[in-house]
Assembly symmetry: C2
Homo-oligomer: 351 residues x 2
Amino acid sequence: MRENDIFQVMSKRTEISELGQFGLIDRLTEGVECANESSVVGVGDDAAVIDAGDRYLLISTELLLEGVHFDLTYFPLKHLGYKVVVAAMSDIIAMNGTPRQLTLALGVSARFAVEHLEELYEGVKAACKEYSIDLVGGDTTASINGLSIGVTAVGEVAKDRLVRRSGAKENDLICITSDLGAAYMGLHLLERERIALDGHPNPNPDFSGHEYILRRWLKPDLRLDIIKALEAEGIVPSSMIDITDGLASDALQLCKSSGCGVRLYLERIPIAAETRAMAEELNADPIVAMLNGGDDYELMFTVPLEMRDKVLHFGGVDVIGHITTHGAVLVTPEGGELPLTAPGFAAKKRD
Amino acid sequence: MRENDIFQVMSKRTEISELGQFGLIDRLTEGVECANESSVVGVGDDAAVIDAGDRYLLISTELLLEGVHFDLTYFPLKHLGYKVVVAAMSDIIAMNGTPRQLTLALGVSARFAVEHLEELYEGVKAACKEYSIDLVGGDTTASINGLSIGVTAVGEVAKDRLVRRSGAKENDLICITSDLGAAYMGLHLLERERIALDGHPNPNPDFSGHEYILRRWLKPDLRLDIIKALEAEGIVPSSMIDITDGLASDALQLCKSSGCGVRLYLERIPIAAETRAMAEELNADPIVAMLNGGDDYELMFTVPLEMRDKVLHFGGVDVIGHITTHGAVLVTPEGGELPLTAPGFAAKKRD
């Protein structure tokens, strides 16, 4: 059988890190075209778009793995269930869609009891209730390595309200929906406490004063309120993406899809006081947390210049820069320019 | 942090095996109801059903894990890619639907090179081409434990042609679309060779004469031809399910959903000569392979008695029994009756 062993016959070996995550996906999906009429948008956006007569359906699948995306030492299962729904549905609202249905497939090792899965489901159900989402598929299978979660989000959007990553135009304003980097600092606080208290017979971590960053990590909001506000104000952004890999990475993705550049102004990008305080305490750079931390589950969208007042009218939305013809630049308060960069195949900073 | 450790606070621990796979899903999804108008069928069938105006969309998510569902020692990645598509789309055709779109999310450890994933994708693309399916979503993430595959299948069906598990009526005929148990014996042949040749410097297994059972395991067909034939003949089965967990388990599922019983006649259930021969060689029971082997990816459906001739006209479809009011019984050639049983939370017999 050894001659059939796939790990022996490979004559050339290109490491995934050589291509980066996005280069890898591009290479794997090269030449993929859609044959069915109902396939409106295929690979390369936050969600796939399927024609459903009078509207579009949006579909996105995510895989969340223990030890990579979450650490159950300090991530309560109920919170994890909630976050799984938010993470999956974030791709739907990034297309300006309304979340509708969710399917969940779990791989579960013998370490888990029924009660653990009930806790996880409690969180899933709570998020589904909060955002009016129907859980329409649930499946479990055995696993040899902890908990694996496959989750599919389904949503819908009126045909004239679909927003893609690819529509940004020169001079469009770049808007974000919250301060960034808080979730990342919440994760690092939990990491620090885990290490500090490991082996302690009666650990009693003190999290007072850190509620905000912990909440941003453990129980992020789905920004469905933004989608509703955009509709109420009669705004269809020219492009949109959710901020999950970090502002820098997601801004670069948007540029790539829209064939444009971006100019972001550092002093306009909000960082919460709690995020800065935690960064200081941990000798970390809050700007790195903001730019590359990820897991913010906020939205970045672009609108034409003339919509400035309308967008700011929302409250909680910041204009942090604008679209250019090419290049991705971060402008410092002193007027210096730094290139925007992001890790490619992110060994994602997760809990 | 230890007080937050989920594995310490659990006061009661119910093992998953106590409930069985299906009992577990029932318990986890208890009380789940659909709030959105477009959610037509939720948990409990092969796929979720979503209203899309003039037709229904069908959606199903599956999780396939290395070491549980496949062993890469003898499962070529290209075949795996092909089988992943068939496995996912099998849930769509089990609702009498036509496959349309597929999304794929991979968790990949550092053991894998880009070329490995290209091989996997080659198989995915080949199956997509074979069955006119569009790959509309592809995502990769890091993994610490081998290869994890999250796959979502999307299909569609005319509203008057939707078939559920729940429509079987007393006296309906039970039809299956092929001989069963072959994939299971193919898996066991590969297992035997792997063990026999482990450590051999120049292994050279002889698979001649076993092509059929190996193909059934490594490259199953998607029975889209049956869906097309049913439409051409103007037949809408009263119920349908795909045979993936084994005939016994899936027959019991259908009974549970339809609130009925079943009577299957052992001598009418086809077992291929190659399957019998391999079973004999391995001192295994071909009837166990047929009843509980699984991974057949065939269809079991029911039709009213009067459709007997129409269904047999297909070729390749066998009537193996009929629906009763209650009880699930296997009738032996001698007229004896055995209860149909199946493992609950199947530690599925996989490669």
